[in-house]
């Protein structure tokens, strides 16, 4: 009898806290959102399941959680805490990405830069709320709407906030179809939303092959902190465009990115243990994260309107919203909002240009913040 009582004390029921229950509910909610609403299922299902696993209370002495040295989960989490998974995901993204629309309309690259204002204003907002410079830098990058970049920078600048930042980044990325449309409609007139853009020109194979090498050199020489992420992104793209490494490109964009996504999503979810995650700081990070997405979207749209003041071939300002990276969801949102006004207006391919330049922009922003803040004392 005594053994049974002792065993019951070690069960999850006995040591379950309110915080654990809340986090398990959040995990279930993520899974439900992914399955029912189809919000980023590839990310929310692993994160949701990870959150459930990470919040099952364990007995002292049993090495089980991501924070316990030597546990299986801690080895999986190693790729997150050391920033190994994000560059591998970037390799896969590079092997998937077609830069053709960007190469055919280079001025759209600037929209990706404009949307990065979300990163830097959120950084200032975090400082106003009392976060340290390093923490604020890691929080600010949520505005880049790029999960792997957020994880990478958080692992370098503010490891204790990694869980909250990763969850905020991925949650808001999943909520892009909810967050962006009201901002886009608010900042544009119907006439602007109806603008049809010229079809992109055909890009030669040679341009596509030269671009990743030279673009990497430009970015890396300006912001060396971004070499890991951008190196892998452009390497993946070179594998795709060179046409002689099709097998490697295929592996990078299918099995490899899938495996890394599973490991990253699950271990990030498992790191959201209630005692580490349910804090005032996490709430502030979530608030700042939502704000950063709004600012980034507004920045892109307003800059597109500004560009239209000088352009003869007007651009549809909606595509500015795709300057937040969130590939390809924000581009899809642009297409959706555009088609609500004019069902025959196809903005997706145009929106992919600021979308991929947003990926480059957020990686550069991360590199800059890492380089500058790594020396900061606080």
């Amino acid at each position: 009898m005594e053994i049974i009582i002792e065993f019951l004390k070690t069960t999850g029921f006995a040591s379950m806290t309110g915080g654990n229950a809340v986090m398990i509910l959040i995990g279930i909610m993520f899974i439900a959102l992914a399955i029912i609403k189809d919000y980023e299922p590839l990310l929310l299902v692993p994160i949701g399941m990870g959150a459930i696993v990470g919040n099952i209370p364990v007995t002292d002495g049993m090495s089980l959680s991501v924070y316990d040295e030597g546990s299986v989960l801690s080895f999986l989490y190693f790729g997150v805490s050391k920033g190994i998974y994000p560059p591998l995901i970037f390799l896969g993204i590079g092997a998937m990405t077609d830069f053709s629309t960007m190469l055919s309309n280079p001025k759209l690259v600037l929209l990706g830069a404009a949307a990065q204002i979300g990163v830097f204003l959120t950084f200032l907002g975090a400082l106003c709320l009392g976060f340290t410079l390093k923490e604020a830098g890691a929080i600010g990058i949520i505005g880049g709407a790029d999960g792997p970049t957020s994880i990478f920078l958080a692992s370098k600048l503010a490891p204790p906030l990694l869980g909250a930042i990763a969850i905020a980044a991925y949650s808001y990325m999943a909520l892009v179809p909810v967050i962006q449309p009201p901002v886009m409609r608010l900042l544009t007139t119907r006439e602007e939303r109806l603008i049809r853009m010229k079809p992109p020109r055909k890009v030669s194979r040679r341009e596509k092959m030269i671009f990743p090498v030279v673009a990497f050199l430009i970015c890396a020489l300006i912001a060396p902190g971004a070499i890991v992420l951008l190196g892998m992104l452009f390497f993946g793209n070179l594998l795709k465009e060179s046409m002689v490494t099709e097998r490697l490109a295929n592996t990078a964009r299918t099995s490899m990115i899938d495996m890394v996504t599973i490991l990253l999503g699950f271990s990030v979810g498992a790191s959201t243990q209630a005692e580490a995650f349910l804090t005032r700081q996490s709430l502030l990070i979530f608030g700042l994260g939502a704000l950063s997405f709004v600012i980034a979207t507004a920045g892109g749209v307003l800059f597109a309107k500004f560009m239209n003041l000088f352009l003869t071939d007007k651009i549809n300002p909606l595509i500015g919203a795709a300057g937040v990276s969130a590939v390809p969801d924000s581009a899809r949102v642009v297409q959706m909002v555009g088609q609500q006004e004019d069902p025959h207006n196809f903005l997706l391919m145009h929106a992919m240009a600021p979308n991929v330049s947003g990926v480059i922009g957020s990686a550069i922003a991360a590199g800059v913040l890492w380089a500058v803040l790594t020396k900061a004392a606080t």
């Binding site: 960007m102 830069a113 400082l127 009392g130 341009e207 673009a215 300006i222 480059i360 550069i364 803040l373």
Partner: protein, 160 residues
């Protein structure tokens, strides 16, 4: 009120008078002496024209109430980092944009000295097509032969 203070106050006061609110950041940039003088000036001359005014002094009070020295130090450093960061990101992407814009022209020049890679790839693709066409023909011949052999075999069986 000294000249320096006046020169600081007047543009600030004019700015507020045009209907804008004095921002916290602007107030932060003014010295304490100037803040007191500006506050008095705004109160004496402009208060009747504006229903709500966040004067530099009140802004300063708000800042002191909510932000300690560390936050203010971080914020001033953060503003510099944010501006520099935005400039760097914009410059990098502007350079990429310029490079992309010049790339077709560069390729046109290079193309004169260096044969187009696309041509060799298309040759490679054509060879692949040729091979696949040959394979298709071989498969068709094989199928016809197989059908013939089957037909003969069945006719032989029926004779037996």
């Amino acid at each position: 009120m000294n000249d320096r203070a006046r020169s600081d106050i007047l543009p600030a006061a004019r700015w507020i008078y045009r209907g804008s609110l004095a921002t916290v950041v602007r107030a932060h940039l003014l010295s304490h002496t100037t803040l007191v003088a500006a506050d008095r000036l705004i109160h004496d001359h402009l208060y009747t024209h504006l229903s709500i005014v966040i004067t530099p002094m009140t802004a300063s009070i708000i800042m002191n109430a909510f932000w300690d020295d560390t936050i203010r130090e971080n914020l001033s450093e953060g503003i510099q980092i944010a501006i520099a960061g935005m400039v760097i990101v914009a410059s990098a992407l502007a350079l990429i944009s310029l490079f992309i814009a010049t790339l077709p022209h560069l390729l046109a020049v290079i193309g004169k000295f260096w044969p187009d890679v696309e041509a060799s790839h298309s040759r490679h693709a054509r060879t692949e097509n040729l091979v696949s066409k040959n394979e298709a023909v071989l498969a068709a011949i094989g199928y016809v032969l197989h059908c013939e052999v089957q037909k003969r075999a069945s006719s032989e069986r029926s004779v037996d």
